[in-house]
């Protein structure tokens, strides 16, 4: 992994000029938005004032329509600003980690891959994501992207009005990498919410899961954070060696967020929750900040942390 000194150097020589050149574009977008808001307000005022005469509302309506056109224009400007940001900045940050990694700003982990992981069983109604990176770290290939899945509920109030509600299933970074041991069944490492909320009773509740048998492991700290289900007790322990458990605890502490892992087929799937949107440009404040770049660098580097901590490049077992 690159040191922070090197990252600073890259920031100074490559990223900060790129960010500076984007600043004018950003300001342009902000101006457009402010202008659109001003037009909209004007339209509303004109509409209210125009109420006094029969056709007086027409100018107001026209101005409001103009405001929406202006908003549309601002939005398309924002999109091109975003695209420029991804290509000139995000791409450079990724290249600084490893020039051979592939970056597709518009693509994301596919629905098939998401389902394959078995991590989130609830069916989604909305599936979004972007910033797909794929590549190889030594002997381990991986794919990583931002992902947001949601499901919809509809409620009807006493007056018969329907309203839709969207609920997040998962939002954050979703990655999968080649696992270095042969796996036959499926093993899941999930946040231990039941035990944290209900203590010992939670443990009783955990016994019932469609994902397989509850596996009790000997690392107390690991057990505090996670609950493990597997179709094979032995295989779960074969995967989750004492070292791997320590590694997972370490990753959990380092990122301080909920982590979901599954070991299915030839892959290890890792989903890390993040509430904010990742790798997006700033709009209402200067985009030229080292801290933003540093954060982005660490988030992309998550995959290296996973591969290294879990020792996925150690290929000493029968799987090559």
């Amino acid at each position: 992994m690159m040191s922070s000194v090197n990252l600073k150097e890259i920031y100074r020589s490559k990223l900060s000029p790129a960010l500076l050149s984007l600043e004018s574009q950003r300001k342009d977008v902000v101006k457009r938005i402010l202008l659109s808001v001003a037009i909209l307000l004007l339209g509303i005022v004109a509409f209210v004032v125009g109420q006094q005469s029969e056709y007086g509302f027409i100018p107001g309506v026209l101005i409001v329509i103009g405001a929406f056109v202006s908003f549309g224009f601002a939005f398309s400007k924002y999109n091109s600003y975003k695209q420029a940001f991804k290509n000139k900045v995000v791409r450079k940050v990724i290249e600084s980690i490893d020039p051979d990694w592939n970056y597709h700003p518009e693509a994301c982990i596919s629905e098939n891959e998401y389902v394959e992981s078995g991590l989130f069983q609830r069916h989604w109604d909305r599936y979004n994501g972007d910033d797909l990176i794929s590549g190889v770290i030594d002997k381990t290939d991986f794919r990583l992207s931002e992902l947001h899945t949601q499901y919809k509920t509809v409620s009807v109030d006493s007056k018969g009005r329907r309203s839709e509600h969207w609920h997040t299933i998962f939002k954050g970074l979703f990655a999968h990498a080649d696992f270095n041991k042969e796996i036959r069944g499926e093993t899941f490492v999930l946040p231990d919410i039941a035990e944290r909320m209900f203590g010992k009773w939670g443990q009783k509740l955990q016994k019932f899961s469609p994902r397989g048998e509850l596996v009790k492991l000997e690392n107390i700290e690991f057990e505090k954070y996670f609950v493990v289900y597997s179709h094979d007790q032995n295989e779960a322990r074969y995967i989750l060696t004492p070292k791997i458990m320590e590694a997972i605890v370490h990753i959990r502490q380092q990122f301080d967020t909920e982590i979901y892992l599954s070991f299915v087929g030839t892959r290890v799937y890792v989903a890390m929750s993040f509430s904010q949107d990742l790798f997006e440009p700033r709009l209402f404040r200067s985009g030229v900040r080292y801290s933003d770049i540093e954060q982005m660098y660490y988030q992309f580097n998550t995959i290296s942390v996973i591969v290294n901590e879990m020792n996925l490049n150690t290929r000493i077992w029968t799987k090559e």
Binding site: K181, Q233, N234, E235, R237, P242, K243, I316, W317
Partner: protein, 190 residues
């Protein structure tokens, strides 16, 4: 019918149900222990099956290690004898682990052997089996702990006493085995 009698009968039925539940629970735990030991036995056998090939390929290159190789072969032969008790099996397994480890250390002196493809494959298989054994031991320990807890808590302890269930010992996993890539590291240090 007398209502007192009915109540008594109901209590009796409930007590019987509780008793059956606890009895079944204990039986299940005991079976899990046997099952886990069986799982470990399968892996140990896999390791025994690897030994002849390992010995053959080492013999070819490392002529000075005859004594060690003979010892491993003998240990394997005793481990394959039928009617061994659990404790005997465990003791032999520990000795074999130790002998294989010393053999792998002495292999360091034979670069040709280390580069041999067949040997590399065996080494991978051995690492695989070692990891599986280590996992199976941990499963065994987990179910034995569960069993021990089960027979010692009240009122299970009364039924366990009646059934003659005794506390079982867990495996003491040595520090070196906790890091189950240990064997490989010896090779990687070349």
């Amino acid at each position: 019918m007398n209502s007192t009698l009915l109540i008594l009968l109901a209590i009796l039925v409930v007590v019987a149900l509780i008793f059956i539940g606890m009895y079944n629970g204990l039986i299940r735990r005991r079976n899990e222990v046997d099952n886990a030991f069986g799982g470990m036995d399968v892996q140990l056998k896999k390791r025994y099956d690897l030994i002849p090939n390992l010995v053959a390929s080492v013999k070819e290159y490392a002529k000075h290690e005859k004594e060690l190789l003979n010892k491993i072969t003998e240990l394997r032969a005793s481990a394959l004898k039928p009617d061994l008790s659990v404790n005997e099996k465990i003791a032999l397994d520990n000795q074999i682990s130790g002998a294989i480890k010393s053999m792998l250390i002495s292999v360091e002196n034979y670069p040709e052997l280390k580069a041999n493809e067949n040997f590399i494959f065996l080494q991978r298989s051995l690492n695989e089996v070692e990891s599986q054994i280590s996992a199976a031991r941990r499963t065994f320990n987990a179910v034995v702990t569960d069993y021990n807890n089960g027979i010692q808590v009240f009122p299970n302890s009364i039924i366990a006493g009646m059934m003659g269930m005794k506390r079982k010992e867990v495996f003491v996993i040595q520090q070196a085995e906790r890091e189950n890539v240990d064997v490989s590291q010896m090779f990687n240090q070349a």
